[in-house]
Amino acid sequence: MNKDWELSQEAFDALLDWLDSDREQAALKYEKIRRSLIKIFTGRGCVEPEDLADETINRVTSKLKEIGKEFSGDRTRYFFGVANKVHLEHLRRKLPQPTPPPTNDPDWIELEYSCLERCIERLSKEHRELLLRYHGAEGPAETEHRRALAAELGIAPNALRIRVYRIRMGLKECVEKCIERSLG
């Protein structure tokens, strides 16, 4: 593949058409494939998984004219095959490992914490209490504690995991925005 090849709007539209004839569905599938590829490259120990996911998508897109109409089968699997090739090439390149970002500045930690407090205050009462209670036990007691909490709410333990995960992700997003605003 030509490394200078870039994803034009026309090529991107062709990719979406290939994924699904319904444009909204196609966009959802595209997002899902990209997110999954990032997780796969991360699982393989790649420190810049987003770049490799984009490279995989670009490569699939650049081949659409060859494979487009004749291709039959699971299209996500095609991405997986291309991702394997991209990964092998990445291993040969042996890119330098980036240094981890600094994390122990006390002022930064306090800024993060005050943002977290503000964001938690903005949660509904039920969500705030659920978050606290869900994380209120650890170690051997954790599983039983969460099972009891799920029973109290009348939902399955896995549904509780998902519910708390969503609260947590919303909270994380709120903290990130709060930090951005605080930094001006």
Partner: protein, 261 residues
């Protein structure tokens, strides 16, 4: 395949210890099955929480630091997990008293107008008196037994690390306000009391006395809590001695660890 098996498998995958064949299958599932992708996201957060709480085994911890924690995104998620734990530890008592509200309709509350005697003055005062007495009694019981209201186990702000004599693990600087609890594995539990002295590059940093051994699984450990503030990146050595019947200190073992940022 059961949900539990999936969870365990995803956990092994995230820690980089899943065998190659199964890893390929799981990666294909991540792309093609939304449930597997969702499970991956959930287990990522759970691993972070367990790491922050010191709940991973030595091997898992090493894998977490060398394999899981490689991307900036996951490092950010770890930071968030540490912040959240700090918040939960500070606010746990406040959440213990009220129950989580469910979507079920709320029970009708007992108001004055719903009392059976409403509208009949003498009986109204009688019933009101009983209600007031009951409230007072409940308040008194609550004041007398505050512990009974706290259904939640309290979580101390400590990071727990198990140390074996031959190992020299890496330990992250504890978050602000946290202490480091070292669980020193004992080869020969022959003393009743123990003393410890922590050294950072041959300079004494903190001493602890009157330490007691505890059973943990099939072995014994001596828990030693190190104040978080005294820890900064560097190499540490902890000398453990037993206190004999005569009160003399007898050196037992040396434990090493490295504190990293």
């Amino acid at each position: 395949m059961t949900l539990t098996a999936d969870k365990q498998e995803v956990r092994s995958y995230l820690l980089g210890v899943l065998d190659a064949d199964r890893k390929t299958q799981l990666e294909e599932q991540i792309l093609s099955t939304p449930q597997t992708y969702e499970e991956l996201l959930l287990v990522e957060e759970e691993l972070i929480d367990q790491y922050v709480a010191g709940g991973l085994s030595e091997h898992e911890r090493q894998q977490f630091e060398t394999h899981f924690l490689i991307t900036a995104e996951r490092q950010k998620n770890l930071r968030f997990g540490q912040l959240l734990k700090r918040y939960v530890n500070s606010n746990l008592g406040a959440a213990a008293i009220p129950h989580v509200e469910t979507s079920a309709p709320a029970k009708k509350s007992l108001t004055f107008s719903t009392l059976p005697a409403a509208g009949r003055p003498v009986m109204v005062f009688g019933v009101a008196g009983i209600v007031l007495l009951s409230v007072a009694l409940l308040c008194w019981l609550g004041y007398r037994r505050p512990q009974s209201r706290l259904a939640q186990p309290r979580v101390e702000p400590v990071v727990v690390v198990t140390l074996a004599p031959a190992a020299a693990p890496r330990v992250n600087v504890p978050p602000k306000g946290y202490d480091l609890k070292l669980e020193l594995e004992l080869a020969n539990p022959s003393f009743r009391n123990y003393n410890s002295e922590l050294f950072r590059e041959n300079k004494s940093v903190q001493t602890r006395g009157e330490l007691r051994m505890e059973p943990k699984g099939e072995q014994y450990i001596v828990p030693v809590t190190i104040t978080g503030e005294v820890l900064s990146p560097g190499d540490y050595e902890l000398k453990l001695s037993g206190v004999s019947e005569s009160g003399a200190n007898e050196f037992i073992e040396k434990y090493s660890f490295r504190v990293i940022e």
